[in-house]
């Protein structure tokens, strides 16, 4: 029978001491992610800490670790930059190791002619991006977590960036990758421009959230970078519907601004309190080569012109540019929030992101807001409830619900009193109208209760993947796939 002591002994047999971390503080930190950030900061986590964090140096080491864990029923949590928000990194098993990509930190090749870059899973996106910018390129990927997140994690969680409307989500950027399965098999998906060789197997790894395989290497596309051409637009709107109509107009006419967003009044206050005048805010950024930027600008102006009745005024583009320059949060922001959570009964809030087609998004938005205002028993504690649409597609867009509240309960109860009931309302209202409950944060462990509903009859396919690749269920127990044993942490 495997126990903690045995497990450590075995790990020490496989890896040198400096690749195994058993520091209690680090293990506590590894027990949960940003979902339970407040309980974690207040040191009242209810989940077990993992036994160790290991740092393999190669795909082969990952393979040996997985084979061992698979044979001995040891739960494995794959980990990158630790910016997960939905419990994807939370631990629900006593016998768990975290496989951290820290040492898989090499940029293997930047291939300018073929416009692709190959990196190991643990390379921070910022590092790759900085390297590319020096040469006049960009990955086009810029999630808010860019300064912290790592490539392996971004791919594993189907991440999306702030410029997705032009460049797409990570699934549009990944050319090929290498990943390791629980039985130790290492698969390499080759880098080609396109192929019709059966189903696109990249999508088994992209977004698997560490439940099927461990990603060790990825190759992403490159884009030319023209920051000097950036153009900004901002408008104050009478309502959020107008904003969504304008976003749609721009998209269906074939334009691809890199940023296209509309904020509800409440959310606008968070970012634009100095000019929003209690109105919704619509903003765009056009990016790319000169002719593309000019065309995009024309498209934006044209669309705005068509809906001028719903626009109360245009905003100085300098204000939008300034906002754009302060977009990302860094490790310092995260650390600062933790300090704040220790000192005060508050944090920076929570978010839930969903998606649906154009006609459904405004309905979901209003249903959610009304239901929370009327049904949620702690609605009076809310200090903020609103949302924005920030990623648009030809057939629809997303809605990023944002909320915060005065935390009037003990830290260990915060999730079940506040965030979870709120998220439940958002997910339920989205699923009823046929939207997706998870536009880009992944399912993690706290939306797994709706995974079957999210996928409906297609859940069959997802489930088969799990039984095929991870028959012993050692990969990130509780993530994506609902588990009876985990419900005690959810309620």
């Amino acid at each position: 029978m495997m126990n903690a002591e045995n497990l450590l002994k075995n790990l020490r047999g496989m890896l040198p001491e400096n690749q195994i971390n058993t520091n209690p503080d680090d293990l506590y930190d590894a027990a949960a992610d940003r979902y339970k950030k407040y309980a974690k900061a207040r040191k009242v986590l209810d989940v077990p800490s993992p036994i160790a964090i290991v740092y393999p140096n190669s795909a082969e080491e990952v393979s040996r670790l997985l084979v061992f864990c698979n044979k001995n029923q040891v739960n494995v949590i794959p980990r990158g930059g630790k910016t997960a928000t939905e419990g994807g990194l939370e631990n629900w098993k006593k016998l768990t190791i975290v496989i951290d990509s820290e040492n898989l930190n090499q940029i293997i090749k930047i291939d300018e002619y073929n416009m692709q870059a190959t990196v190991q899973a643990g390379v921070p996106l910022q590092e790759l991006e900085d390297e590319l910018r020096k040469r006049g390129y960009t990955t086009g990927h810029s999630p808010q977590s860019k300064p912290v997140a790592k490539l392996g994690g971004l791919v594993a969680t189907r991440s999306i960036g702030q410029f997705s409307t032009l460049y797409g989500g990570i699934e549009d950027m990944v050319v090929g990758l290498e990943c390791v399965f629980p039985d130790g098999h290492i698969s390499r998906i080759k880098n080609v421009s396109r192929r019709a060789g059966g189903p696109d197997i990249r999508h088994i790894a992209i977004g698997n959230e560490g439940t099927l395989c461990y990603i060790t290497e990825v190759t992403v596309k490159l884009f030319r970078y023209f920051p000097e051409n950036n153009k900004f637009y901002g408008y104050l709107l009478k309502d959020i519907e107008t904003g969504i109509s304008i976003l749609r107009e721009v998209m269906v006419n074939g334009y691809r601004p890199s940023v296209a967003r509309v904020y509800s009044e409440e959310d606008a206050r968070q970012h634009f309190y100095h000019f929003y005048k209690d109105k919704c805010v619509l903003l765009f950024m056009a990016e790319g080569n000169t002719s593309m930027v000019n065309a995009t600008c024309n498209g934006i102006e044209e669309a705005v012109g068509r809906f001028s009745d719903g626009i109360s005024e245009q905003v100085d583009s300098k204000l939008i540019e300034e906002w754009f320059n302060h977009l990302n949060w860094s490790q310092k922001d995260i650390d600062d929030e933790v300090e704040g959570m220790i000192e005060n009964d508050s944090h920076a809030g929570f978010t839930t992101e969903i998606s649906a087609d154009w006609e459904t998004i405004p309905k979901i938005y209003h249903n959610v807001i009304n239901r929370i205002r009327n049904e949620y028993p702690r609605a009076h504690d809310l200090t903020m409830l609103g949302g924005h649409s920030s990623h648009s597609y030809i057939n629809g867009t997303n809605m990023y619900f944002v909320y915060n509240y005065d935390i009037k309960c003990n830290p260990e109860d915060e999730m079940r009193i506040y965030h979870h009931p709120l998220q439940t309302i958002i997910v339920e209202e989205t699923l009823i109208l046929g939207g997706s409950m998870c536009h880009h944060h992944g399912i993690g462990k706290y939306r797994n209760e709706w995974t079957t509903e999210e996928h409906g009859s297609a859940y069959y396919m997802l489930e088969k993947l799990k039984t095929a690749f991870d028959p012993n269920g050692i990969m990130n127990f509780g993530t994506i796939f609902p588990q009876e044993e985990g419900t005690k942490y959810q309620k």
Binding site: Y273, H274, D316, L319, E322, K332, E339, E343, N344
Partner: protein, 317 residues
């Protein structure tokens, strides 16, 4: 002839004298005479301002022993039949007034800030709901009229030319004291920025010369605080940080030097009354919430304003 008694609190002498102005406004054109009562040490400074000064030199009554002070006021009311009794709304006055009012079975109005006359009644105006609402209150025909008066609102300008008659009063009923003062200590100058009335706050741009903020703070008897950027860079300690993840302050004046004012920062300023911001960018978010925006370099501003305050201080001396 109306008779009014004012409770003179030694530690708040000027505030007690200012109640003469309230009495003046209450009686308007009517004739009245004023009595002052003080416990403990005699108050010669009040001579000439009152018609009568009652001193209670009994060693057994400490000037914090509200029960025995109430006994004395009750006895005095029995002798003199005052038409009104006024208290400065100090810590002590606000405890003594309600006890006395209850003893005399009369109504009481607290923290009066204005006197008005309405249909032959004296209307006492006082703030309610943290000063967000003002209420006019009248007394229902019972004598004496009693009120406590907000400090530093009224100011008595009358000359000190009365022939004050001094009365030494010996109390009849004194109870055993149920309270004993152990020690008094002066409040230390607090290090907690939440307790400061004025904050001089430095943002990311002030890192290079952050210690200079103290010069201006000293002139204004203020404390120095900081934005997150300043704390992140290690220039200021976290205990100085204002904002959502730092401290929420409720100062009367917040001087924001080189702070752009993210919403997270502004969350910490929810209860601040006045904001002066100094910024090279007049469109910085915080400027939209400021009473005065100084467009320019904060380091220069500190020197100029410090010099100006010093100069004004000297020229007044």
């Amino acid at each position: 002839m109306k008779k009014s008694l004012i409770y003179i609190e030694q530690n708040h002498f000027q505030n007690s004298m200012d109640l003469l102005e309230v009495v003046r406004q209450v009686y308007d054109a009517e004739e009245y005479e004023t009595y002052g009562v003080s416990f403990g040490a005699s108050c010669d400074e009040a001579e000439g301002l009152f018609d009568y000064l009652i001193e209670v030199p009994d060693q057994r009554i400490r000037s914090y022993d509200v029960i025995n002070m109430t006994n004395v006021l009750e006895e005095l009311q029995g002798f003199y039949h005052f038409d009104s009794i006024l208290f400065p709304a100090t810590q002590l006055g606000r405890m003594l007034a309600p006890r006395t009012a209850m003893r005399l079975h009369v109504g009481l109005v607290a923290d009066v800030t204005a006197i008005r006359h309405k249909n032959g009644f004296v209307e006492m105006v006082r703030p309610a709901f943290s000063g967000k609402i003002m209420a006019g209150i009248v007394n229902r025909n019972r004598v004496p009229l009693m009120m406590s008066v907000r400090q530093n609102v009224f100011s008595y300008q009358g000359a000190s030319q009365k022939q004050t008659e001094k009365i030494k009063y010996s109390p009849i009923r004194i109870e055993d004291r149920k309270i004993e003062l152990i020690e008094v200590r002066e409040k230390e100058k607090t290090r907690d920025i939440r307790e400061s009335e004025i904050l001089i706050s430095g943002g990311g741009g002030t890192g290079r010369y952050f210690p200079k903020l103290k010069h201006l703070a000293d002139e204004l008897n203020a404390q120095v605080s900081a934005s997150r950027k300043t704390v992140d860079s290690g220039t200021a300690p976290r205990s100085m940080q204002v904002g959502q993840s730092g401290k929420t302050v409720s100062t009367k004046l917040y001087m924001a030097l080189g702070i752009s004012g993210s919403l997270q920062h502004m969350e910490g300023l929810k209860n601040v009354e006045n904001i002066v911001s100094v910024n090279t960018n007049r469109d910085a978010p915080i400027c939209s919430r400021s009473d005065i925006v100084v467009e320019g370099d904060a380091e220069e501003f500190i020197e100029r304003l410090t010099d100006k305050i010093k100069w004004e201080k000297q020229s007044r001396e």
